[in-house]
Symmetry: C2
Subunit: 303 residues, 2 copies
C-alpha cells in the first residue's frame, strides 16, 4: 500500500576516514524513498532546485516512486557538508545551506491525500503537522526528528509527536527530549505523549524497539567495509515503513514490527557500503532477503 514520505533532498559533501565526495545526491527523503521502493509504492514530497540532476528524478520515477509531490523550485537545492571520524556513529555538520528548503510549504497532490502510511521525515515539526493534517485518516504515521528541533521548537515538536503512532530517534535525541538517560524510562516518557512505539537507532549497535509490554533489539550487521554512514538512518526508516506498508494492515502485529525492523536494518547495512545512494539504488530483492537471513543467522539461538 502507498507510503507517503516528506523530507529533504540534498547535495551532500562528505568526508569519512575512507574517502571524500563532493556534491553527491543525498537527503532524508531520497534515502527513504529508495529504500522503501523495494517493498511498497512510495509518494514523495520534497523540494529541489533547478540544479538538481534530472536523471536522478527520472531514476526515482522509474521505480515505484511517485514524484508528483516533488517540487522543482527556482533557486539552489539544499546542501549539507559534514564529516565522520573513525566513530562512524556521529556525523559532524560543517555547513547547512537550506536554499529552496527555506520556503518549503508543501500542498499535497490530491491523489496523495488518502495515503494509508505516512512518514514525516526530519523537518520543522510545524510542517510535519501541516502535512499530516492534509492526509485523511492514515492507518499508521511515523515521525523522525533531530536535535535541532528538540532544542529550537520543543513545543511544536511535542505536539507533533502527540499526533503520530511511531517515533524514530537516535539515542542522544530521545535522552535529550525526555530528560531521561535510561532508554527504557525515556521511551516510556515519550510514549506518555501519545505514540505507541519508539524505535531507537544506535548506529553500528543496531536498533532498539520499545512499546507497551514488548521490546525488540536488533544488532547492526558487523560489516568489514563501511564507507559512509550518511543515509543509514533514513534507509532504515524506509525499509521499516516500506515493510509495514507492504503488509497493509492498520494494526501490525509484534512480529510485523520485528520483520519491518530487520528489513530496515538489512537495507541500511547496504547503504553504508558506498558513498551516496550508489549501493542503495542497485540492490535486488534477493540481496535484501539474503541480508535479512544473515541477520537471523547472526542473532538466533535455541535453548
Amino acid at each position: 500500500m502507498s507510503l507517503l514520505v516528506v523530507g529533504s533532498m540534498a547535495f551532500d559533501s562528505i568526508k569519512s576516514p575512507f574517502g571524500a565526495v563532493e556534491r553527491v545526491v543525498g537527503g532524508s527523503a531520497t534515502y527513504f524513498s529508495l529504500a522503501a521502493s523495494y517493498l511498497t509504492p512510495v509518494r514523495l514530497v520534497s523540494v529541489v532546485g533547478k540544479d538538481f540532476p534530472r536523471e536522478v528524478i527520472d531514476m526515482l520515477a522509474s521505480r515505484s516512486i511517485d514524484t508528483k509531490g516533488l517540487k522543482i523550485a527556482g533557486g539552489e537545492t539544499f546542501r549539507w557538508k559534514g564529516y565522520y571520524e573513525y566513530d562512524l556513529n556521529t556525523a559532524h555538520t560543517v555547513k547547512t545551506e537550506l536554499n529552496v528548503f527555506r520556503d518549503f510549504a508543501p500542498v499535497l497532490p490530491k491523489e496523495y491525500r488518502n495515503s494509508p502510511y505516512v512518514f514525516l521525515g526530519n523537518i520543522d515539526p510545524r510542517l510535519q503537522m501541516d502535512i499530516l493534517s492534509q492526509v485523511r485518516g492514515p492507518r499508521l504515521v511515523a515521525l523522525d526528528t533531530m536535535n535541532y528541533w528538540i532544542e529550537n521548537s520543543p513545543a511544536p515538536l511535542r505536539e507533533a509527536i502527540g499526533k503520530v503512532d511511531i517515533v524514530i530517534f537516535n539515542e542522544s535525541e530521545i535522552r535529550e527530549i525526555s530528560g531521561e538517560y535510561n532508554l527504557v524510562k525515556a521511551a516510556r516518557t515519550v510514549r506518555g505523549w501519545g505514540p505507541s512505539r519508539i524505535v531507537i537507532k544506535r548506529g553500528e549497535y543496531g536498533v532498539l524497539h520499545l512499546s507497551d509490554g514488548t521490546m525488540f533489539a536488533a544488532p547492526g550487521y558487523p560489516l568489514e567495509t563501511i564507507f559512509d554512514p550518511t543515509g543509514a538512518g533514513d534507509s532504515f526508516a524506509g525499509g521499516f515503513m516500506g515493510y509495514l506498508a507492504s503488509r497493509g494492515t492498520a494494526d501490525p502485529t509484534d512480529m510485523d514490527y520485528r520483520l519491518a525492523t530487520m528489513y530496515g536494518s538489512a537495507i541500511a547495512s547496504y547503504t553504508v557500503e558506498a558513498f551516496s545512494t550508489e549501493r542503495l539504488q542497485n540492490l535486488s530483492t534477493e540481496d535484501i532477503a539474503e541480508r535479512v537471513d544473515a541477520f537471523r543467522a547472526l542473532t538466533e539461538f535455541r535453548v
Copy 2:
C-alpha cells in the same frame, strides 16, 4: 566439568550516578566464580589479605566453588577505587592498590592440574602463561586482559594469546591490540595469532562473537535499573565459560557458544542491578533461565 579460574579478589570503592559504596567485595575472580558456580564446579585461584572477610570465603566455599587455590597472605587485599558517569560503559579508575597481589605467583593445588576448562582472568600475561603451563592438556582455555597489559607487556600478552582458544576483549582493547578500528578485521588479526574465537564485550550494547565463518551478536538487556556495572564483564565470562564447562565437550558447537553467550549475558544483566555481588550471589537457576528466555523474546524474529 571443573572450571579453573585465576584472577583478582578485591575491595572496591565505587561511585556511580546512582550511589556510592566503600570497600565492598569485588575482583574479577569473585564475580567470575559466583557467576560460573550456577552452572559448573569452579576451582578458584587468587589471593587475598588477612583483612578479607572470612564469611565471604565461606559463602564462596558453600557453593560449588573450591577455594583450595585461594591464598590468604599477610598484608592487605587488592583495592580498586573508581567511578562511572552516566555512560556506564566506561569505568574510570581513581586508584589501584595491588597490596598482596603484587607478589601473586600461584602454584596450583595438585587436584587443580587436570582442570579441563580454564579461564585466565585479567592479570600479568606472564602469570597467565605460568598458570596455564601447570595445567595438563586442558580442553578449552579462555583469556581476558586489559589495556594496561596491552600497553605495558605487549610481547608476553601476544605470546599468552597464542596459547589459548578464546580471547575476551572489550571494543577499545581489541582495537588497541590489533591496530584495526573495524571489529571484523581486528578479530581476524587476533585470530591470526592463534585463538579460534574472539568475544567482544560492548557494555550495554551486548556482545559480539567472531570466529572462522560464523558471527553471533547478542544485545545487552534493556534494564530500567542499572546501579553498578562493576563485575558485569567478569560475570559474563563466568556464565559463558560455566555453560561451556557444563556441556563438557572438548569441541563445543556453534550453538553451544551461542547459548554460553546468552547464559553469560543473562547472569551479567543481574549483576548490574545492585552494587558489588549482592544480586549476583542471590540468583536462582530459574532467574537465569527466565532471563535467557527474555533475551530470546528480545531478539527473535521469523521470516
